[in-house]
């Protein structure tokens, strides 16, 4: 397994070059690039600019683990509005294109967003149809679409069997699960998601979670690795069982009040212990 961390965690005000140098110095093998987050990777970026971005990543001694996006929350593919759905398809298609340019073979999308106004059943149908449509450009680009389990935030596909039914309905080998082991909260157990989805897992996001805290008040439910309630030994063993040997990507919240770069070193050290099974 290789370890990566998102460029969205690069401290505010840092340049891309300094951020990549920090990621490399902290011991990561790769960087996850978030389309729509930092100024260096926006929808307006041309192919030439994306190639330049790849060069900077490689010059820093890293590779791109995958391409994610921050746009799905505002522009969901499950929207009732066809113009929004079309916009969503455009940014996901751009993710696929940029992944190819950046040398990555997987993208992350937040597929479907249930709200009080947009009900589960219609979200389900639209999401299956649109993700299935997007599997075609994905297959041509040799890039897998990993639909992330955002469970409580997304209010969609909350259980592993539900997610399995969704993937069965999409019915494409180019569409799988980008599993975030910190997003399951108290609705289940990540090691069970891993066993159920096995080879359909495209990438793994890691962070820890306080199961009992819930999404209330201003206290985050998320925390750094080994500080929360995830059973990391079980998660590691389940990954061994399914013979997962891909990317493990830190998706942390920036929680360090001082010395923000320290979070990179601490996270990298924890991930190494996880990968090596020293827990």
């Amino acid at each position: 397994m290789k370890k990566a961390i998102g460029d969205n965690l690069i401290p505010k005000g840092w340049t891309l070059e300094n951020g990549l140098a920090l990621i490399h110095k902290a011991g990561f093998d790769g960087v996850e690039l978030w389309l729509g987050d930092k100024p260096w990777f926006q929808m307006s970026a041309t192919d030439a600019e994306v190639r330049n971005l790849r060069r900077k990543v490689e010059d820093a001694g890293l590779v791109v683990s995958n391409v994610s996006n921050t746009l799905d929350w505002e522009i969901p593919i499950s929207s009732r509005d066809p113009t929004i759905r079309e916009k969503a398809k455009q940014h996901i298609k751009r993710q696929i294109e940029t992944a190819q340019i950046l040398g990555a073979d997987a993208i992350l999308v937040v597929a479907g967003l249930v709200t009080e106004e947009t009900a589960y059943n219609e979200v389900y149908r639209r999401t299956v149809d649109n993700i299935r449509d997007l599997s075609e450009p994905a297959s041509k680009a040799n890039v897998r679409i990993g639909c992330e389990n955002c469970c409580s935030e997304q209010r969609f596909l909350i259980s592993p069997r539900e997610f399995e039914t969704f993937l069965n309905d999409v019915n494409s080998p180019w569409v799988g699960l980008h599993l975030d082991v910190g997003n399951i909260h108290d609705t289940g157990f990540p090691e069970q998601w891993i066993e159920i989805h096995g080879p359909r897992i495209t990438r793994i996001h890691v962070k820890d979670v306080h199961r009992k805290r819930g999404r209330c008040g201003d206290q985050s439910v998320y925390t750094n690795l080994f500080l929360g309630d995830n059973n990391w030994v079980a998660i590691r063993t389940a990954l061994e069982k399914i013979r997962y040997d891909g990317w493990i990507i830190a998706e942390m919240e920036s929680v360090y009040r001082y010395a923000q770069d320290q979070q990179f070193f601490d996270t990298s050290a924890a991930m190494s212990r996880f990968i090596e099974g020293r827990m």
């Binding site: 157990f189 066993e195 096995g198 079980a234 063993t237 069982k241 399914i242």
Partner: protein, 155 residues
């Protein structure tokens, strides 16, 4: 026999067997029987055809005695805390979840362990499991299905 009569009777469930072609299975769990298909009861005398014996929750005394005569001992079941996986290295490499309790087994070639504890052995045509496989096959676990398929294809 280390398994006490009291412990055994406390957990014993009616013994039943199934036959898949020339492959015989003896098991006590309802889910295992469903997983292994409900065919006529196996009596424990299948000659040299491969025989799978699934223990852990309970076997009738006559079957434990039958195994003992073959030189295989099923020891006192142990409770497993938290999720844990039994690691098989024969006939294929597979990891199967525990089922809450496992019975250590001795007297044959060890084919699976839970941590350092031997929980499955083979001896001639016999394969004896101290941790149930059937419920995981019934639940559709990939490794469990692959392991069973591999066992049923043994010569």
């Amino acid at each position: 026999m280390e398994l006490s009569r009291r412990a055994l009777l406390g957990s014993a469930i009616a013994f039943a067997g199934v036959r898949i072609g020339s492959f015989s299975v003896s098991c006590s769990l309802e889910e295992s029987r469903k997983a292994f298909h409900g065919l006529p009861p196996f009596t424990g005398a299948a000659g040299q055809s491969p025989v799978l014996v699934e223990s852990s929750v309970g076997l009738a005394i006559e079957n434990l005695a039958w195994l003992e005569r073959k030189g295989i001992l099923i020891h006192q079941p142990r409770t497993v805390r938290g999720p844990a996986w039994v690691r098989f290295d024969w006939p294929i490499s597979a990891m199967i979840r525990d089922f809450g309790r496992v019975s250590p087994i001795s007297g044959g070639v060890v084919i699976a362990r839970l941590n350092d504890l031997p929980v499955a052995v083979r001896k001639g045509p016999l394969v004896v499991l101290g941790s149930p496989l059937g419920p995981h096959v019934y639940a559709g676990d990939r490794d469990a299905c692959a392991l069973l398929a591999s066992l049923t294809q043994l010569p």
